[in-house]
C-alpha cells in the first residue's frame, strides 16, 4: 500500500476536525484575554508567538524527527550529524559518544525552554492526544513505537515531540514541520478567539496568515536544528504569567 503524501499528513494534523484534543485548547489566548490583553492586540500577540514560543515547539519537533528518522526498535540515540542508531538502550550514560543524545535529552531541552508548569502540562496533555492518534495511524512506524516505549517508561511526552515522531514516520520535511507548528498554534488561537469574542470570522484568518508570514524568516534556521542545544529558547514571559494565573481559574472555557 502506498503511503499518504507528507502534505496530506500535514493537512490532517493541522485540521481542527482531527480528534486530537486540540479543541480544548486556546494556545494561550484565553489566558491572555483574561489577563487583560485587549482583543485589538491579538494580531501583534500572534506575531509574537509565531516568532517565539512556536519556534521552541517547532525546533523540538524537528530535532525529534531527526533523531527518530530511520530508527529501528528501542530508544534511539542521535549524534550531531543527525544520524540515529537504533541500538536498544543499555549503554551506560557515561560511555556514550560526545555530542550524542537521546529522546530524554530532547524532552529535557524542551522542558528547560518551557519554564511555566501550566504550559508544560498543557503540552503534555496535547501530546497524549497526539500519541493516541499516532499509535493508531502509524502503529508500525519505529519512530512511533520508540515514543510509546518512552511514554510508558517516563510519562507523557509533549506535543512537539509526538509531532516530531509523526514527521519522522511520514517523511514530513523539516521546514514543513516548522510551518505546521506555527500554523497550528496560530489557528488554534484564532478559532478560540471566535468563541471568546464576537468578531467577523474572516478577520482572524488573515491574522493567522500574517503570523505564518512573520515566522517564515525563521523557518530555515529552525528546520536546520539537529541537536537539543540548537532548539530555540525564545520565551514569552507575559504569556507564561498569564498561563499560570489561568491554570488556577475554575471558570474558563479552555484548558490552556
Amino acid at each position: 500500500m502506498t503511503s499518504a503524501h507528507a502534505l496530506s499528513v500535514a493537512m490532517l494534523l493541522a485540521d481542527a476536525r482531527l480528534p486530537s484534543g486540540g479543541h480544548a485548547h486556546s494556545a494561550s489566548l484565553e489566558p491572555a484575554l483574561l489577563g487583560g490583553m485587549p482583543t485589538s492586540e491579538v494580531p501583534a500577540w500572534l506575531f509574537g508567538r509565531a516568532t517565539t514560543v512556536s519556534l521552541v515547539e517547532a525546533g523540538t519537533a524537528v530535532v525529534t524527527a531527526r533523531l527518530l528518522a530511520g530508527t529501528a526498535v528501542g530508544e534511539p540515540r542521535g549524534t550531531p550529524g543527525g544520524t540515529a542508531v537504533g541500538e536498544p538502550r543499555g549503554v551506560p550514560d557515561g560511555v556514550r559518544p560526545a555530542g550524542a543524545f537521546d529522546l530524554a535529552d530532547v524532552v529535557r531541552a524542551w522542558a528547560a525552554r518551557t519554564p511555566a508548569p501550566a504550559l508544560r502540562d498543557a503540552a503534555r496533555l496535547l501530546g497524549r492526544g497526539y500519541l493516541r492518534l499516532a499509535r493508531t495511524l502509524w502503529a508500525d512506524a519505529p519512530a512511533v513505537r520508540a515514543l510509546v516505549a518512552h511514554d510508558a517508561a517516563h510519562g507523557p511526552l509533549p506535543r512537539a515531540v509526538v509531532l516530531g515522531a509523526v514527521a519522522a514516520a511520514t517523511g514530513l520535511p523539516a521546514a514543513d514541520t516548522v510551518r505546521l507548528t506555527v500554523y497550528d498554534d496560530a489557528q488554534t488561537a484564532a478559532s478560540a478567539l471566535l468563541k471568546l469574542e464576537p468578531l467577523d470570522p474572516v478577520t482572524p484568518a488573515r491574522w493567522v496568515l500574517e503570523a505564518c508570514a512573520a515566522a517564515e524568516q525563521h523557518v530555515l534556521r529552525v528546520a536546520a536544528c539537529t541537536t537539543p542545544e540548537d532548539i530555540p529558547a525564545s520565551g514569552s514571559p507575559q504569556t507564561e504569567g498569564w498561563a499560570q494565573a489561568h491554570a488556577l481559574l475554575s471558570q474558563r472555557l479552555f484548558r490552556a
Binding site: 490583553m37 509574537g48 529522546l103 537539543p228 525564545s234 520565551g235 507575559q238 507564561e240
Partner: protein
C-alpha cells in the same frame, strides 16, 4: 579588611564573625595589588592560580578606559589552605572591577564596581565566576549599569559561572538599564556541579526615565551534569513592544534559584516534576519558602510576581512592571545566604 572600604561598599549585613585578615597567613603567591595582571597574556583556559590573591579591602583603582577590549573580570573562590583559614579569593579586573568585601572559612562576598562609564557601543563586559567545592560566594553590584546609545554599535555583557560540588553563588544584581539606541546582548551561562546552588537576581529596564528604551537579547543558560535546567532567550525592543513577551512593561525582574542534581541520581529525566529545590537544605534564608516535590508553590506573597517551578526543580520568580521600585522581588545582598 572591610573597615578599609568606603561605606558604599559595605554590605547591608557585614559578617560579624569575619576573622581578622591581619591574622591570616599570607598566601604564598599574593602579589601586590592593585595592579591587575595582564589578562590578555593569559592562555584561553583561565588558570585561577595564575592570578594573585586579593588582599582584603584593596583600594578601588581606576581602570583605564579601553572600549572594545574584552578584558575579563574574574572572581574565583577557593578552599582555604588550612584549618581555620578563610577561603582564598582571586580576582582580576576588566570593565568591571572586583573588590573583596568580606570572607570567612567557607564564604566570601565580592562587590563588582564599574571601572568607568559603561556600557558604550562596542563594549564587551565579561565576568567569569568560579566557586570551589563547598565554598560560597555572594556577588553584589555597587551600582546599576546603563547601556548607552551605541550609535549603531552593539555591546555585550557575558557572565560565565562555574560552581563546584556543593558550592553556592548568590548574585544580587542591580538594575541593568537599556537606554534608547542601545543594542545589547546579555548572557548568563552557569554550570552547576552536584548540589551546587545558584541564586541570581537580574533586573532589566528598558529605557531611562522618559525613554522607551533600546534593544536587548537576554539569554540565560543553566545546566548541571544531567543536562539543561533553564534555557531562555528573551528579545525585547523598547520601541516595539510585543504583547505576550513583555507587553508594554519596561521592567523585567527575575530571581532564579536552582540547584545542581543531588549526588544520588537525577530522578526521572523525562518525566514531569523532578528533584525539587526545597529538600530541606535550603535553610531559613531560602527565599522561595518550603514546598514538597510535587506540591505547588504556596501562594507567593509577591504582588503581581509569578513563581514558575522548573521541570527539573528550582524556581524562576518574575515580575513585569513599569518601574523597579514597584517590584515585589527582593534578593538583598544577604551575606552568607548562598552557603549551606
Amino acid at each position: 579588611m572591610p573597615d578599609a572600604l568606603p561605606d558604599a561598599l559595605m554590605p547591608d549585613a557585614p559578617m560579624p564573625d569575619a576573622p581578622d585578615p591581619d591574622a591570616l597567613p599570607d598566601a604564598p603567591d599574593s602579589n601586590a595589588l592593585p595592579e591587575a595582571p595582564d589578562l590578555d597574556a593569559l592562555p584561553d583556559a583561565p588558570d585561577p592560580d595564575a592570578l594573585p590573591e586579593v588582599p582584603d579591602g584593596s583600594p578601588t583603582t581606576a581602570v583605564p578606559r579601553a572600549p572594545s577590549t574584552p578584558r575579563v573580570t574574574r572572581v574565583a573562590v577557593e578552599r582555604p589552605t588550612g584549618f581555620g583559614a578563610p577561603v582564598r579569593v582571586r580576582t582580576s579586573d576588566g570593565l568591571l572591577a572586583a573588590r573583596l568585601v568580606a570572607r570567612d572559612g567557607t564564604r566570601a562576598e565580592v562587590a563588582l564596581v564599574a571601572g568607568g562609564a559603561m556600557l558604550l557601543g562596542g563594549d564587551h563586559v565579561i565576568v567569569s565566576v568560579r566557586v570551589d567545592p563547598g565554598c560560597a560566594l555572594t556577588l553584589t553590584d555597587v551600582g546599576g549599569t546603563v547601556a548607552y546609545d551605541g550609535d549603531g554599535k552593539a555591546c555585550r555583557w557575558d557572565a560565565d559561572i562555574r560552581l563546584g560540588p556543593g558550592a553556592g553563588l548568590t548574585w544580587a544584581g542591580l538594575p541593568f538599564v537599556v537606554a534608547s539606541g542601545a543594542d545589547v546582548r546579555r548572557t548568563t551561562t552557569a554550570r552547576l556541579a552536584t548540589d551546587a546552588r545558584l541564586t541570581l537576581r537580574e533586573t532589566v529596564v528598558l529605557g531611562r526615565s522618559g525613554e522607551c528604551g533600546g534593544r536587548i537579547t537576554l539569554r540565560t543558560d543553566v545546566a548541571d551534569d544531567v543536562g539543561p535546567i533553564l534555557v531562555e532567550e528573551l528579545t525585547a525592543a523598547g520601541d516595539h513592544p510585543v504583547p505576550g513577551v513583555l507587553g508594554d512593561h519596561a521592567v523585567i525582574d527575575t530571581v532564579t534559584d536552582v540547584r545542581g542534581s543531588p549526588p544520588d541520581g537525577p530522578g526521572d529525566p523525562g518525566g514531569p516534576g523532578g528533584p525539587d529545590s526545597s529538600d530541606g537544605r535550603g535553610g531559613p534564608d531560602s527565599f522561595d519558602g518550603p514546598g514538597g516535590p510535587d506540591r505547588p508553590a504556596p501562594a507567593p506573597d509577591l504582588d503581581g510576581a509569578v513563581t514558575l517551578r522548573l521541570d527539573r526543580g528550582g524556581t524562576l520568580t518574575r515580575w513585569l512592571g513599569p518601574a523597579t521600585h514597584l517590584s515585589p522581588l527582593d534578593l538583598a545582598p544577604d551575606f552568607g545566604s548562598a552557603g549551606q
